[in-house]
Amino acid sequence: MSESELSGLSGQPETVSGTGEDAGAADGAAASGPTRAARHVGVEPILSVRDLTKYYPLSSGVIRHTVGHVKAVDGISFDLFPGETLGIVGESGCGKSTLGRLLVSLERPTSGSIVFEGRDITDLKGSAMRRLRRDIQIVFQDPYTSLDPRKTVGDIIGEPFKIHPAVVPSGKRQARVKELLDLVGLNPEHINRYPHEFSGGQRQRIGIARGIALNPKVLVCDEPVSALDVSVQAQVVNLLVRLQKELDLAYVFIAHDLSVVRHISDRVGVMYLGKFMEMGDEDQIYDRSTHPYTQALMSAVPVPDPQARDKRELIVLQGDVPSPANPPSGCRFHTRCWRAQPACAEQDPELVPREDGAGGHDSACLFAELFSKASEEITEADQIG
């Protein structure tokens, strides 16, 4: 998928936003400046993750003895800078949601560290942990299960203030909730409505309002738009972009939709079986990827342009994703990789900068190179599909 193919899309951008919903037009009013990643030279990361792992024990038998581990997250390291968006993509089961839950301390890591503003938060307890909760919040994927059906919108968005009474004095909470509703593009008068009276997109706005209620610095968005319809997706993405600018939030944006991730992210990490395969800014990942898994993933994304139909070079991967309980030796991807060589089964490649034709970026492939059809020999036998 090349840049020219993507931009060969038919319809031209429309600046006029639709009429109707209050929020649709307001979202993302400002345009972004130059690449935000460039700002981070010399800036301290707000969140530093080092060698993070999460193993879930597998038990069996009558006395429930542990027979192995599902390695959901297996050695993840990255930095997140203030105000930036780190996209995390991967297929289901790659551990991206577990990573998100680790970042907001819904799970305790098996090993590794998460450093927030210079302080290791992995082992925080009690009130220190509760204080931290104000700074790192999460937005969930499913707008239907993420809101308590028995609570009104006011109760849901107001709950953070009940848990952290110091943030807003009790007399001003109602006003603050209305302010938040307005901020996410909902009618403040609907404060007494129940979630089931709202559509999926509106519910996701309510979930976002709850997530930003405590003025967090980091917002983990776990597939925030993948349960929404296309036209509503765009509204919610716009809302997230606008909020980031207004509130100076840093996002960890977890998704499987590569085009949405590309739109919103400054940097992107590609996960496979609990590890990053490749990490870099948007151009590096989307145009100059050197890891075969990233290349296969990119090639599989359907392009919404019928003209591209015959020009696409679809890399069809062999077989299925191996079980995270028993990941392949060496490079995890070697069992499905068409470029695999004997060394791949023995060495676990590190995520280090590798040449991409325009400098280099982090890639975990021993034979990192740009994808070009001519240089590949994808035989019929490789294409089980």
Binding site: L9, S10, G11, P13, G18, A234, V303
Partner: protein
């Protein structure tokens, strides 16, 4: 005891397999009557792929279920129209005959293969059941056919895996098994309702490739129901865009993507994230789809439409008419939409 039944003898008329005319379906719910489908017209020829594109609540799945005669009634009622398969109206067909049409002539696959397969029987047995019931085959012949089908949908080591249960397969493999069951009896029409929505992109690509190959082999007509503009662009010949239970635009895939004739289609295509908009606001259709129990007067899309005029609000629903050769749209302002200014 296996029933031995022969295939109903039906042949396409004028090269058309399926002809849906003025289909109406409503759901009678506690909150009122939801008009789920309000006059849908289309036809399908052999080897044709028609994509029905729409968001949730647009009526795309209900359309498929009405064709299959598997609407849950009540609350759903077909209140008008015809679904002619090879000239025979399926809506008035006795259930006994309809059961011989389903699977044999028209078949369907669903989004969620895991819940569509019976967890307590091996997959090979479930596929073989199709041959035992509809073709009266004996156990071993049917099993043999099932293995052959599993090979046809490219399941590796089919003979060994026929004895496995659905939960032992990955999502993509389960969807292949569903497809195997759907094409077992060589149907002439296959309806795929969001077949890849629950799957990862790499697997999605495999499944769509498989469907296209199977269609080329058998010449069946394929109705692909989806919300994914990317998938549609990849495989469809024709696209019908649905909104609030109506087709708002229907034309070949190239013209539709190049220049949509209906404002809703314009909005859908423009809301795809694009390279040159990176970091900027995405185009979003404002507002939300209306409640099907309280459809707006006039054109259902008028409250969200930037082309809307008084006519759209006052006059009846815009007629679904041919606006160009072979291209249909339901909009009072098609000319304006087609010649709209692009920024």
């Amino acid at each position: 005891m296996p029933r031995k039944s022969t295939r109903l003898d039906l042949a396409p008329i004028d090269g058309k397999l399926l002809e849906v005319t003025d289909l109406h379906v409503e759901f009678r719910t506690r909150d009122g009557v939801a008009k789920a489908i309000n006059g849908v017209n289309f036809s399908l020829s052999p080897s044709e792929t028609l994509a029905i594109l729409g968001e949730s609540g647009s009526g795309k799945s209900v359309t498929a279920q009405a064709i299959m005669g598997i609407l849950d009634s009540p609350p759903a009622f077909v209140t008008g129209g015809q679904v002619k398969y090879c000239g025979v109206d399926l809506l008035t067909m006795p259930e006994k005959d309809m059961r011989r049409v389903r699977g044999d002539h028209i078949s369907m696959i669903f989004q969620d293969a895991l819940s569509s397969l019976n967890p307590v029987f091996p997959v090979g047995w479930q596929i073989a059941e199709m041959f035992r019931i509809h073709r009266g085959m004996n156990r071993s012949d049917a099993q043999e056919q099932a293995v052959r089908l599993m090979e046809r949908v490219r399941i590796p080591a089919a003979r060994e895996r026929a004895g496995n249960y659905p939960h032992q397969f990955s999502g993509g493999m389960r969807q292949r098994i569903m497809i195997a069951m759907a094409i077992a009896l060589d149907p002439r029409v296959l309806i795929a309702d969001e077949p890849t929505t629950a799957l990862d992109v790499t697997v999605q690509a495999q499944i769509m490739t498989l469907l296209k190959e199977l269609q080329e082999e058998s010449g069946m007509g394929l109705i692909l129901i989806t919300h994914d503009l990317g998938v549609v662009a990849d495989v469809a010949d024709d696209i019908a865009v649905m909104y609030c239970g109506r087709f708002v635009e229907h034309c070949d895939v190239h013209r539709l993507y190049a220049n949509p004739a209906h404002p809703y289609t314009v909005g859908l295509i423009d809301s795809i994230p694009r390279l040159d908009q990176k970091g900027e606001q995405l185009f979003a259709i404002g507002g939300l789809p209306p409640s099907l129990t309280h459809l707006p007067t006039g054109c259902s899309f008028n409250p969200r439409c930037r082309f809307a005029t008084e006519e759209c609000r006052v006059a009846g629903a815009p007629p679904f008419i041919e606006v160009e050769d072979g291209r249909f749209a339901a909009c009072y302002h098609t000319e304006e939409v087609l010649n709209r200014e692009r920024v």
